[in-house]
Symmetry: C2
Subunit: 301 residues, 2 copies
Amino acid sequence: MKLTILGCYSATPRAFTNPTSQVLEIKNHLFLIDCGEGTQVQLRRHSVKFARIKHIFISHLHGDHFYGLPGLISTFVLLGREAPLEIYGPKGIKEAIILMLKLGKSRTNFPLIFHELSSEFSDCIFEDDKVEVYTVPLKHRVYTNGFVFREKPGERKLNAVAVQEYGIDKCYFRNIKSGKDVQLENGQVIPNAQLSFDPPAPKSYAFCSDTMYKPDIVPIIEKVDVLYHESTFLEEHQSLAETTRHSTAKQAAEIAEMAAVGKLILGHYSVRYSNLEWFREEAAAVFENVELADDGKVFVF
Amino acid sequence: MKLTILGCYSATPRAFTNPTSQVLEIKNHLFLIDCGEGTQVQLRRHSVKFARIKHIFISHLHGDHFYGLPGLISTFVLLGREAPLEIYGPKGIKEAIILMLKLGKSRTNFPLIFHELSSEFSDCIFEDDKVEVYTVPLKHRVYTNGFVFREKPGERKLNAVAVQEYGIDKCYFRNIKSGKDVQLENGQVIPNAQLSFDPPAPKSYAFCSDTMYKPDIVPIIEKVDVLYHESTFLEEHQSLAETTRHSTAKQAAEIAEMAAVGKLILGHYSVRYSNLEWFREEAAAVFENVELADDGKVFVF
C-alpha cells in the first residue's frame, strides 16, 4: 500500500498549501480520496498516472474536499478517456457534477457512474476479489463519511518442500493455496497447514476527515494498519473544534488508541498554527506512533 | 491601469501553469476577469487583496475559466466577508454557484448578486462615475463574452497661472474643471480652454477569450489601449483552431491591426507548443506591438 498526500490543509487556502486529497495505491487500484480545488494539478506535480484512477471517494461536499472534481472530470474528457469512472459520495454530488459539465456543453465519452451515499451506517460500497471499501459514518456540519480500505487475504503460500516430500501432484496446488486439505491415493489426509504457509497479513487503511470526536467509529476502524484522522485544532481550541465539528490532535490520538491502530497520521490543520510539530506532540502524549501528513508526503506500508 | 495575469494557459492543466484569470486595477476598482480552478491560490501568491474584489466577470462556462469561482466565494464566506459581490456571466452561472454552496450548507453573509448575460449584442453591463464595462460578443463552442473596460474622461486640470492672472475666485474652480467658461464681473467671458488643461486620456482594456476569429468585434474594441486576445494555436493548426473555435496568433494580430489598438497581449496557449516565442513572432509579422501573457506577469499602462 502506498499513500500519497496531495493536500492536507483545511479550508481557507494559502499560497503554498493544498486542500484535502490523497491517492491510495492498493492491490493495483489507484483510489482517489477527496478532491479539493487544485487536485488535478497536484496529481501532475506528483506524477500520479491520472488515467489509472477508476474510483473516487468523496467524504463530504465542502469545497475543500470536492471543488476539484468538476475540473478533474473535464480534464478526463479533454484527454479522451474511455474507461469508466466511478464516484462515491454524498447525495447531491451527481447533480452538481452533471450541471457543471452541462453548462460547458461537455459530454463524457466514458461511463460516469455515481454511487450516492446517504446511509448512517457503515456499508460495504466497493468489493472485488482483492479489496473491500467500507464507509465510516462521521459527524461534521454536513453529511460525511470516512472510508476503510481493506485488502482481502491473499492466497496461502505453497510449502514447496512439504509438497515434494508427500509427492503431491501439481493439479492439487490451486486447492492447497485456497486452504484445502489433500487426500493422498492411500486415503491419508494431509492437513493444509502442513502444505502451505499463511499469506502476508492483509493491510488496511482508514481515512476519517472531516469529523468531530466520534468514538463510535472505533469498532469500524479497529486494528487498521494506518488511520488518517483529521486534527484541525489543538486542545487549546477544543471548544472551537466542537462548534465547527472538527477534532483536536488529542482527540484523534484517543480514537487511534481506542481502535488500537498501527499508525496514526494527522492532517487537515487549521492555518492558525505556525508550527505543525505541536500537533505531533499533543497526539504523541496519547498515542505514540503518530506522523504528520504534509502535501506531497508519501507513506508506504 | 494595472493588469495582473493570474493564469493564461488553455484547458488541460500542467504542473506549473494556470488556467485563465486576470485582475484589472482601474480607477480604484479591482475587477476579476475569469476564474479558472486555482484562482484563489494565485490571488494569494500574487498578494492581491482579495477583499477589494467587488465585481467578477466570467467570459464563459468552460471549466478553465470558471471552476475556481465556487471556491473563491466559499473562501469569502469563511473570511466573514460582508461587502456585496457582483458576478457577471452567462445564464446558468447562478444556478451552478448556488447549488455548489447549498451542497456544503454554506450561506453567504454578504449580498451575492448575479447579472446573467444572454444578449448577442454589446451591452453596457457596469457603469459608475469613473468606469464603464461593455460586453464583446464572441464566438466559441458555448455562449461567450469578452469585456471592454473604459475609464471615463476625468476632470479638466486647472490652469493655476491663468486663473490667478484673471483673478478668478475659488468658487468657480469646480465649474472650470467640469469644462465651463467663466464670465468675469465686467462681463468678459473667458473660454474654458484658457483656464484649464485637457485631462489625461482615459485608458481602455479589452479582454477577448475564448473566441474564434471574429472580425465583427473590431468596432467594439476599436482603439483600446490594450487588447488581450486569445491565441490558442499557431497558423499551422489553423484548421484545428476553426474546429475548436479558437484563434491563431496571426488571427489575433489581424484583429489588433484592424481595431488599431495600442498593444496586443496574447494568451490561452495550447500546451502543445514548447516555445511561446513562436506566438509572438507569428503575431508580430502582422501587428508589431505585441507581448506575451504569462502567469504572474503584470502590465501597467
